[in-house]
């Protein structure tokens, strides 16, 4: 089975966000980048799929040279090879999907995995867009997956419950926490990753549909009123919630 993982390289979730001087980008000084946490579930599921059905796992990412670090991590976990598509990074989600599709389509994958969203721009969109560009159906936010006779049975997390979905292959699956427990790369895996190939490609952005006017930090106007240091403060809290905040 030809298995592709599309992953993204993002600032660690512990990052305190600062805005650059141009007010349009994030200040990357001192920011450490990691593999997108949801993409780890994608890599793990891809590896399990390979272990079950055979085949190869190819990791594809769009970004700059630094993104190789995340590709190496996936290779260390067990993926077979990587493709880094270099191109302009502050672009709209569909452009990112187009860049990924341009390299993934010729691979003719049976299944493509990616995280349900990247924790930087949070659009939850690239996976579904990629599916459309590849001409595949997609199932997003998957917490359980079975592949049986070319039929995909998946469970996706939705408000207040679980949706059970079915689809044909080829398909794009976007992965949610709960699907699996991603493995740690072994020392052997890390050593092996060093000699696995990472192919470099270039994508020329023809139309960036996104115009960023400004990034800003959210303003907090919280009262931060400390009402007491034990349960005797509770009646006052309830009174304020009723009379001042009017939320209960």
């Amino acid at each position: 089975m030809k298995i592709v993982v599309a992953l993204s390289h993002v600032p660690d979730t512990a990052t305190k966000i600062k805005i650059s001087q141009d007010r349009k980008t994030i200040d990357q000084t001192g920011v450490s980048f990691v593999i997108n946490p949801y993409d780890e579930f994608a890599v793990e599921e891809a590896l399990r799929t390979k272990e079950k059905f055979g085949g190869e796992v190819i990791v594809v990412t769009y970004g700059n040279d630094n993104a190789k670090e995340s590709i190496r991590k996936a290779l260390a976990m067990g993926a077979d090879k990587g493709i880094l598509i270099k191109g302009e990074t502050n672009v709209d989600t569909l452009t990112i999907a187009e860049a990924l599709a341009s390299e993934i389509l010729p691979l003719q994958p049976d299944i493509v995995f990616c995280g349900k969203q990247s924790v930087d721009y949070d659009s939850s969109a690239v996976g579904q867009m990629l599916a459309e560009l590849l001409g595949f159906p997609s199932i997003s936010t998957v917490v359980k997956l079975e592949i049986d006779n070319n039929i995909i049975k998946a469970e996706r997390e939705v408000e207040g419950g679980i949706e059970k979905c079915e689809s044909s292959l080829p398909v794009v699956i976007t992965t949610q926490k709960g699907l699996n427990e991603p493995r740690y790369a072994s020392l052997k895996g890390i050593m092996a990753a060093k000699s696995k190939p990472i192919e470099e490609k270039f994508f020329e952005v023809k139309q960036n549909r996104l115009v960023v006017n400004e990034l800003r930090l959210p303003e907090s106007q919280r009262k931060s009123k400390i009402l007491g240091t034990d349960a005797t403060a509770v009646p006052e809290l309830v009174r304020l919630l009723r009379e001042e905040a009017k939320v209960i």
Binding site: P11, T13, A14, T15, K16, I26, P37, D92, T93, L94, V119, D122, S123, S124, A125, V126, Q128, P137, S138, S140, T141, R156, E157, V158, E159, G160, G161, E163, K164, C165, E166, S167, V171, K177, R209, L210, V211, N213, E214, L215, L217, P218, S220, R222, K223, S224, K225, I226, L227, T229, D230, A231, A233, V234, P235, V238, L240, L241, A245, I248
Partner: protein
Amino acid sequence: MYNKILVFLEQRNDEIKKQSLEAARKGFQLSKELNTELIGIVVGNEIKNLNIVSEHGLEKVIHLKNSKLKNYSSTAYSKLISDFAKENNFNLLLFSHTSMGKDLAPIVAAKLKAGYGADCVSITFKENNLIFERPIFAGKAIMNFSLNSEFKVLTIRPNTVSLTENGYNVNTNVEVIEVPESNLDLRSLTVDYVKSEGKIDVAEADIIISGGRGMKGPENFYLLEEIAQLLNGAVGASRAVVDAGWRPHSEQVGQTGKTVSPKLYIACGISGAIQHLAGMSSARCIVAINKDKDAPIFQVADYGIVGDVLEILPVLKEELKKYVN
């Protein structure tokens, strides 16, 4: 720039969801400002409560109907909506940022080669230009942006448009279009929906009471469940307690869990890691109860009590009982 507005009305089990009505109202406001046409589109079989849209500004609704469209199918729905938009020149499409909306809207956007903006908290029309705002990095920053493509597809964050304001009553004309079976792309199909037993989802709750490590163990979460039930709210959890296996991931609030914006968020024994704060700091009112007076959660709270949650929660429950029910 001329934009005709199409609002997607989401139905589950034949009922229009509340979040779609917010999108309808947003569409109505924009159609007035842009002086342009607005219609709603619903895909499904029978729709029980479609008349509700007349309270939310939709004068016209297209109902694309087939018994096989009762359950969501991303392949079928996306094709029908994008074909309709293309054929009728609707180039501003609004969805709600719900599980269905965020699955469907990107596919529609890709079919239309549209610029896409997810999870918008604001859409305004200024100097002949549509300006959008959306939180990024789980709310650690806000992006103010425009889209320069012909088609624009946006999803609107739930709980950001008031459904109680007056001025949205209209007469609604519903046009039912029977969709022939040959036009249904059902490669991906929802076959069943299993509701979690009797609980309100954190993503949809108006009131959330969340627990962290300060709850000391899974056995104490009943304290939160009792209060959640009393207030008709939901129980949330910090990443630490989800990773420890005390609570399911579906309850996790924060950057790798759910981003929530309820009217009241009560954080119990949660210190307030940056990832957690990102997921809940847009709540209208925040209460923090924590032993450590220096915990970062107090910085984002409206009201705080410095103390042991296990002592405070039973008292809080009794006090709340006086006012509810």
